[in-house]
């Protein structure tokens, strides 16, 4: 962890992501206004001391809504990455360790899935599953499995023939023990970097799908959904779209920098 802090990208990413997470955490307990409280007399106001990011077409406080939306987007991204990571770890770990025909077949499938733009696959899955918060988590989570499985597989295959693994085998350790107790801790640095890039992709995918009306549905909050609402008021209230968009950019940028600082792509 310490040597990462010397990296400028990592530091910048840590600061941006840290601030965003802090605001989101505070937002769980306190926002300046109730994100859903409407006020007929305060419609479409510009940013001011009372409403930092201005108000929307119902007079709702945009800052409070952005905080709530960022929290929702963050949680969806976390759930998505969790599905991809856990399943990817199991599939990638086993195929990387045992190799063989199944490994060959599964990795071919993973490669073909990765060749397609994720937004296209996500749309097909949503067509099958239906729209909604949980379906978008499931759809994106499933789509993230191949990339995690691929990374874990490569790393496990690399570690498989090292001395410490041979040693553990000589000591009589079982396959599962070697794989999950001995090998896994050694691939954590690579995993952390891919988790960060996973968050980066998940935030972008969730925002895109919800913007298109295929993800999170009203009344559930999400940054992508807010952007599509803001588009209708682009002329009267450009700040609505701008602040929401900047929140999305900061989330994506923060995770992108973190991943880069940890030696990711």
């Amino acid at each position: 962890m310490k040597h990462y802090l010397k990296d400028k990208n990592f530091k910048a990413g840590l600061i941006i992501t840290g601030l965003m997470v802090l605001v989101i955490l505070i937002g769980l307990f306190w926002t300046p206004y109730d994100p859903n409280a409407m006020s007929g007399s305060e419609k479409l106001q510009g940013p001011s001391a009372a409403h930092w990011f201005g108000t929307d077409n119902f007079g709702r406080d945009i800052f409070s809504r952005v905080v709530q939306g960022a929290g929702a987007t963050f949680l969806i991204a976390a759930a998505t990455v969790a599905i991809g990571l856990v399943v990817g770890l199991i599939i990638g770990g086993l195929t990387g360790y045992y190799g063989g025909l199944l490994d060959e077949i599964l990795m071919r499938i993973a490669d073909s899935i990765l060749a397609f733009p994720s937004i296209l696959l996500a749309l097909v899955m949503i067509a099958i599953l239906g729209k909604g918060k949980y379906n978008i988590i499931l759809a994106l989570g499933l789509l993230f499995i191949p990339s995690f499985a691929r990374i874990v597989r490569t790393e496990v295959a690399k570690q498989k023939n090292t001395d410490y693994v041979r040693n553990a085998k000589l000591m009589g350790a079982g396959d599962m023990r070697i794989l999950f107790i001995h090998i896994m801790p050694n691939i954590i640095p690579v995993l952390l970097s891919s988790v960060a890039i996973g968050f980066n992709n998940a935030v972008l995918s969730e925002a895109s799908m919800s913007y298109l009306g295929m993800g999170v549905q009203p009344p559930d909050p999400s940054l992508g959904r807010m952007l599509s609402e803001a588009q209708g008021y682009l002329f009267q209230a450009p700040w609505y779209a701008i602040f929401t968009g900047v929140a999305i950019i900061l989330l994506i940028l923060g995770f992108g920098l973190l991943s880069e600082g940890m030696g990711g792509e």
Binding site: I119, L123, S208, A241, I249, I252
Partner: protein
């Protein structure tokens, strides 16, 4: 040549597989189009007759083969929403998406190649540091948000174009492409930033090799070494990446068409998913999937043509 034949074989198998997968994916969804098409005219007899007419009573393999035959001959079934051939529903939409994604693909190349070279040329300087920070930010901007910013800035404030006022190709090629410029730019910028970054690291990677030191020792300037020796090698991974990124610009246009209200395949795909008009959705998915696979195929062929080392492996 053997390489091309082998790759072409793989290409054909992939295309058949992907058409099968797309077909099966949309069969999972229980959808009986008859109630929708017949509306108030619905009687069980009419529904049965319609099902027979649409071929929905055939066994699954027969339906797949019929659909595939139709797809190849350019007649991929009947739309459930409009009750007219999918071909007619898609009329004119493909051109919009094709023009938009090709346009943004060209923009990606125009921006990323000079940008990558400049970043590598001025390595260590202020220009590079500023460039890298900007590049990183551009990579993080979602295309649809860029599209909204452009709509606000150039559409509403500066009034260079009318937001939502799509100009069809019948109004003249130049005018239509003019309207497509900002959507194409919105798709291209994040993609170009990623490509520039890849090119920069590819160049810097080459710069450490022995042949570069030799070229320097013969009195070449940094520009000359870059231009005459390094670039050719550094471009190899970038060419593959660029060929494959056409698929991403197509995917990007699905989203950006929505921002600029462009009547392309993307909007049709979204509305057909919303209306559960699966013959149309299935057809669009297959078309985009074919483009992806075909571009990967082209990338393989071009790489082996440019870099004979690939052929030997």
């Amino acid at each position: 040549m053997a390489y091309v034949i082998k790759k072409t074989g793989v290409l054909i198998i992939s295309l058949v597989l992907i058409s099968l997968l797309a077909f099966l994916a949309f069969q999972i969804i229980p959808a009986d189009p008859t109630t929708k098409i017949l509306g108030t005219d619905y009687t069980p007899e009419k529904a049965e007759a319609l099902r027979e007419q649409l071929g929905l009573n055939d066994p699954l393999p027969a339906r797949y083969l019929n659909w595939l035959k139709g797809l190849i001959s350019g007649d991929p079934g009947i739309s459930y929403s409009y009750f007219m051939p999918v071909k007619e529903v898609m009329q004119g939409k493909i051109q919009v998406t094709a023009a938009l994604s090709l346009f943004s693909w060209v923009l990606v190349m125009l921006f990323s190649i000079p940008m990558g070279i400049i970043l590598a040329r001025f390595q260590g300087g202020h220009l590079e540091r500023t460039g890298i920070v900007l590049n990183q930010v551009f990579m993080a901007v979602p295309p649809f948000f860029l599209g909204m910013l452009f709509t606000y800035l150039f559409g509403l404030v500066l009034q260079w174009f009318t937001p939502g006022g799509y100009v069809p190709f019948s109004a003249g090629f130049g005018k239509a492409m003019g309207y497509l410029f900002f959507p194409a730019l919105a798709i291209a910028i994040p993609k170009a930033a990623k490509t520039a970054k890849l090119l920069r690291s590819s160049i810097l990677n080459e710069m450490n090799k022995d042949y570069v030191r030799t070229a320097y020792s013969r009195g070449n300037s940094r520009w000359a070494v870059l231009r005459d020796h390094v670039l050719r090698n550094a471009m190899l991974p970038v060419i593959t990446y660029l060929a494959m990124s056409l698929a991403d610009t197509v995917a990007g246009s699905i989203i950006v068409e929505q921002v600029f209200a462009l009547p392309g395949l993307g909007r049709l795909l979204l509305s057909s998913i919303g209306n559960r008009d699966f013959p149309v959705a299935q057809c669009i998915v297959v078309i985009i999937a074919f483009i992806v696979i075909f571009m990967n195929y082209l990338a393989d062929i071009v790489t082996q043509y440019v870099d004979p080392r690939v052929r030997l492996n």
